[in-house]
């Protein structure tokens, strides 16, 4: 018997009896579950966009407008009110814009690859690389989030019939602020990247090995 006989046997095999039969009801059930999962993911993605992008923007803009429009306070509104309002809104816009451009670039990148096995592997590598170097987003989100976090309570103090002067606001202690900021920075720029690398680098190496295998002759 030679290889041609073997290949002939392969091509004449009866697929349905050799491999079992597909239980269509069960498969249909699996597909419905998959569909429900996809819809749920899509809903969460949408809500995530609202919560992290649109909601801070609306809250900051609302507070800013409230400061600007409230009556009877011509004598107490000072330039810092404008600065706080504008900074809060700008930070919220930056967060929303960053998230939106990030999503856009991910979509563009994913569509930039074809359907071949090589493209499939390269797409995975690109996704891992993105996850590994997402410092820009972390930095912008941290900075903008902190500005929003300060601007919103300050704006709240300044809204009302008797606005609180800046000198009488309850500012957090400098030590506590530095500690909290330090922990945030450590998490964002040290612990989280290390976790990501530990999780993703073996996968990346495996994908690279497969790409090499694909190219190897």
């Amino acid at each position: 018997m030679n290889l041609d006989d073997m290949i002939e046997g392969w091509r004449s095999q009866d697929a349905s009896t050799l491999y079992g039969v597909v239980d269509k009801d069960r498969l249909h059930h699996v597909l419905r579950q998959e569909q429900a999962k996809l819809e749920k993911q899509s809903r969460w993605g949408l809500w995530g966009g609202y919560v992290f992008g649109v909601a801070p923007l609306i809250i900051s803009s609302g507070l800013f407008l409230a400061i600007m429009l409230q009556p009877n306070d011509d004598h107490v509104r000072i330039v810092w009110d404008y600065v706080v309002g504008v900074a809060g809104v700008a930070a919220a816009i930056v967060v929303a814009w960053t998230l939106s451009t990030l999503r856009q670039s991910q979509r563009t990148r994913d569509h930039g690859f074809g359907d071949s096995l090589r493209d499939h592997l390269r797409r995975r590598v690109a996704q891992i690389d993105d996850a590994l170097r997402e410092r820009r987003l972390a930095l912008i989100t941290l900075a903008a989030g902190l500005i929003c976090a300060v601007a919103i309570p300050v704006a709240q103090y300044r809204i009302g019939h008797v606005p609180v002067p800046y000198s009488e606001m309850d500012w957090p202690s400098p030590v506590l602020t530095v500690v909290v900021l330090g922990l945030f920075c450590l998490e964002l720029f040290w612990w989280a990247p290390r976790r990501l690398r530990r999780k993703n680098l073996p996968r990346r190496r495996q994908l690279e090995a497969m790409l090499k295998e694909l190219d190897g002759q």
Partner: protein, 168 residues
């Protein structure tokens, strides 16, 4: 695309070319529970790909492409599962047990394919199913020359193994 339309097209594809999914599953998964899991994964990926199919290639070529990508991804995930991260127990999958004795030639070929690396396994499956070098190159994303080299090497290894077994 409407869900019912996607289901209809997927049903037609499955009825006409389910052998492709079976072969890919058989080449990449070696236990019944794993085959159930992989078949489910491959079927889901093919079902999801219905929207993206533009008719640039034939349906079998498209299904092979999606199924092989899914199988290779599954193999990597499976490697992580096997390292003890997450136990996998899917016994009630959409695939029933085989009802016929396999042709020994086919069994022999599967045994040889199982010895190959993941990527070469894909090329071997496509070669055995009679795909042209051009199609294999498009599915794998490599040059036709590279396909030819790989296929020659696979055929040489199969022939040598066959000769060894015949002698013994």
């Amino acid at each position: 695309m409407l869900d019912s339309e996607r289901d209809r097209i997927f049903g037609e594809w499955l009825a006409g070319h389910q052998g492709i999914l079976f072969k890919v599953v058989r080449a990449y998964a070696f236990k019944h529970a794993d085959r159930q899991d992989l078949f489910q994964e491959v079927a889901i990926q093919v079902w999801r790909s219905v929207d993206a199919y533009r008719g640039d290639s034939s349906v079998p070529t498209w299904m092979y492409r999606i199924a092989l990508n899914a199988a290779i991804s599954w193999t990597r995930k499976q490697g992580r599962h096997q390292r003890g991260k997450q136990p996998l127990e899917i016994m009630d999958g959409p695939l029933t047990e085989p009802v016929a004795e396999a042709d020994p030639r086919v069994e022999w070929l599967y045994a040889q394919i199982a010895q190959l690396k993941d990527v070469d396994r894909s090329v071997a499956l496509l070669m055995l199913d009679g795909f042209a070098y051009k199609d294999i190159a498009a599915i794998a994303g490599i040059s036709e020359g590279n396909v030819a080299v790989k296929i020659n090497r696979i055929k040489a290894a199969l022939t040598a193994q066959l000769a060894r077994e015949t002698e013994s």
